[in-house]
């Protein structure tokens, strides 16, 4: 019996080794890239989305300032998403709207609508690192995630929010990025970002972003209800609350042009 079992176990072991051989040979860079690719693959096919967003800006003294924004986005097959952002608060920018066609490696196309002048302005998308509406979120923190925007390096596994996570370093390709790198915690169960740390151009820790309240939509796509950004260098923070996610609204390209920008509300 024993003599019989041994070879069977031996073959099983060999088979396992053969299967896992590519994994063992995988470099940290390849593993980091594969994790990003998988998280993108799992978040493909959502079509269109609408959501409301509230931003609470807090300075070191705890004084608050409120932003209210509505967002519509449309997934594109072989390109970055199209999105339309409408500002409700602060009241002096109410009715201002922002249209963006994001691209993986090329510069994004962006237009701003100024309701007082009824003017549509094409604006430069070069400003990646600047603050979005005075908040602790930079424009690049809110742009759509495309695999080509970073190079990757897997560091380790770690457990946060009771989730076992991959910890991956992401190095921005764009020289205009305000960061040398991001360190991102992605849970192994659903490939959702749980936390991100941002390192400034001097490679000092600048900000930490924590995600919470993930819900699943269309039985597949995970979206957080809350994103907390803390700036370690200034003590300022921004709390971003998402509400009223809705998918399958039947949006198409015609909802993302200069005419729809002008009548956005």
């Amino acid at each position: 019996m024993r003599r019989h079992i041994m070879p069977r176990n031996y073959f099983l072991l060999m088979a396992l080794l053969c299967l896992s051989a590519p994994l063992l040979a995988e470099t940290a860079e390849e593993k980091g890239h594969a994790i990003a690719a998988e998280s993108i693959a799992r978040d493909t096919g959502w079509g269109d989305m609408k959501a409301d967003m509230q931003m609470i800006l807090r300075n070191k003294q705890g004084e608050e300032s409120l932003r209210e924004i509505r967002i519509q986005s449309l997934e594109q097959a072989n390109d970055g998403d199209k999105s339309l952002t409408i500002f409700d608060k602060p009241l002096d920018v109410k009715g201002t709207a922002f249209l963006s066609f994001s691209h993986a490696t090329e510069a994004d196309d962006q237009w701003l609508y100024l309701p007082a002048l009824k003017r549509v302005k094409r604006i430069s998308s070069r400003n990646k690192s600047g603050p979005f509406m005075g908040s602790e979120f930079a424009y690049e923190d809110l742009s759509s995630f495309e695999i080509e925007k970073y190079t990757y390096k897997y560091i380790k596994d770690d457990t946060i929010n009771e989730q076992t996570c991959f910890v991956v370093e992401q190095f921005p390709v764009d020289k205009n990025s305000g960061y040398t790198r991001r360190v991102v915690w992605i849970d192994q169960a659903e490939y959702r970002v749980q936390r991100a740390e941002f390192y400034d151009r001097k490679d000092s820790l600048l900000k930490t972003l924590s995600y919470s309240g993930y819900n699943q939509y269309l039985g597949k796509y995970w979206r957080p209800d809350k994103m907390d950004m803390l700036n370690h260098q200034t003590g300022k923070s921004t709390e971003l609350l998402w509400k009223n996610y809705s998918f399958g609204n039947g949006l198409n390209d015609a909802d993302f042009n200069k005419n729809s920008l002008k009548r956005a509300r």
């Binding site: 300032s65 002096d92 009824k118």
Partner: protein
């Protein structure tokens, strides 16, 4: 004007009462102008002026937002200038949104163009000249506006029944020419007068980094010829004469990384004149200057008019330099400074604008303007003693 305001006001109070779904927003404001110099002309007010305005917005949508009404009345009160105390319907439209087309009917405002210091191709609306001297404030224009969006771009077609006369400061007002413009005596080349139906079309398209617009306009020139005449009391005055024109124009912007290259040009043909005018330049932005969150935009533009010194516009051979500093802070603090230099008359005007949000619904701004011009043929020379500081406080609701 009072009569034309009454009807919409009744209409808005009706819709506001009829339905809770009417969205109301808007702003009120007060501004103080301080002039360090005594005025050039005897009737003008002396050194300080207070003025206030209100601009509410009413919005009502139905048919799943495919139809909506928008109403924006505007009222300004001015301490000294009776002409500046005025009202206007900035917008009163019914809009219908179809599949790839939309129709806006009523009174509205449309902006065309890309440059910052002069808006050559912005044709549809009349300037509300009593509001400010920058020409950015416009009067509501009656229109039927059809817009068609296709793969080949956006085509806008306008029928414009009814003409709005330009507003000018009254005798008591500052920031005016030596002779008062007597708007009551305005006259027209067209026998239809201010009932002439104008027509306009514009095609616009984005091609990669380029945003291009072409337009055609046929109808009453928004910019009058100012002819010398007499007021009803026999005093010398300027009388606006509105010609019929044909106009074609182009606006183009190239958005190349941190450079925005801008060009506007138009050709205008009237009974008295046929000429080209051009405004062009660039805006270059330095992002995150000295490792802060601040952005500094540098603007350079040049304006040219084929008529040279005969031009009715103050811009005929002028250079513009400007800087825009955005603090990108929670209060959206901004500082804008600009100088325009007339290369023919060697006169300049200098302007600084600063603004910041206060609390949740307030905004404060400060505008400083300085003028220099000694040649009487140069329109800016009339403003020689009108340097001023303007402080504005606005409340949004």
């Amino acid at each position: 004007m009072k009569k034309s305001l009454l009807m919409p006001l009744l209409l808005c109070s009706f819709i506001a009462n009829a339905d809770d779904n009417v969205e109301i927003s808007g702003k009120v404001g007060i501004d103080l102008r301080l002039f360090p110099h005594s005025p050039s002309y005897s009737e003008q007010y002396s050194t300080t002026n207070i003025s206030g305005f209100i601009e509410p917005q009413f919005y009502y949508a139905w048919n799943d937002d495919a139809d909506y009404l928008k109403f924006i009345p505007y009222l300004r009160w001015d301490q000294h200038d009776r002409e500046r105390t005025h009202g206007d319907i900035r917008q009163l439209t019914w809009s219908h949104i179809g599949d790839g087309w939309e129709l806006h009917s009523g009174i509205s405002k449309v902006f065309w163009g890309v440059t910052e210091f002069q808006h050559l191709v912005d044709t549809i609306n009349q300037s509300d000249g009593v509001e400010d001297i920058d020409g950015e404030d416009k009067l509501g224009q009656p229109m039927i506006h059809l817009s068609i969006a296709r793969q080949w771009g956006i085509l806008d077609l306008f029928a414009l029944p009814g003409f709005r006369e330009r507003t000018y400061p009254g005798a008591e007002g500052r920031l005016r020419s030596g002779l008062v413009v007597d708007t009551d005596q305005a006259n027209y080349e067209s026998g239809a007068g201010d009932k002439h139906v104008d027509f306009a079309a514009r095609w616009s398209r984005t091609l990669g980094d380029f945003d291009l617009g072409l337009h055609y306009f046929r109808g009453t020139n928004r910019e009058p010829l100012l002819q010398s005449g007499l007021t009803s009391l026999g005093a010398p005055a300027l009388i606006p004469h509105y010609e019929q024109i044909n106009q074609v124009g182009i606006d183009l912007q190239a958005t190349l990384d941190d450079w925005l290259w801008k060009l506007e040009t138009r050709w205008r043909d009237s009974r008295n004149d046929t000429f080209w005018a051009v405004q062009g330049g660039f805006e270059y932005t330095l992002y995150g200057i000295s490792e802060s969150d601040k952005d500094l935009g540098l603007l350079v533009e040049y304006g040219w008019d084929e008529r040279g010194k005969r031009a009715t516009s103050p811009v005929q051979n002028d250079l513009f330099l400007g800087g825009r500093l955005a603090f990108n802070d929670a209060e959206s603090t901004e500082l804008l400074a600009g100088v325009s230099y007339d290369l023919d008359y060697h006169s300049y005007s200098f302007q600084v604008e600063a603004s910041s949000r206060i609390g949740r619904g307030w905004k404060a701004s400060m505008d400083l303007r300085l003028f220099s011009g000694n040649d009487a043929r140069d329109p800016i020379s009339a403003l020689n003693r009108d340097d001023h500081l303007q402080l504005t406080l606005e409340r949004y609701f």
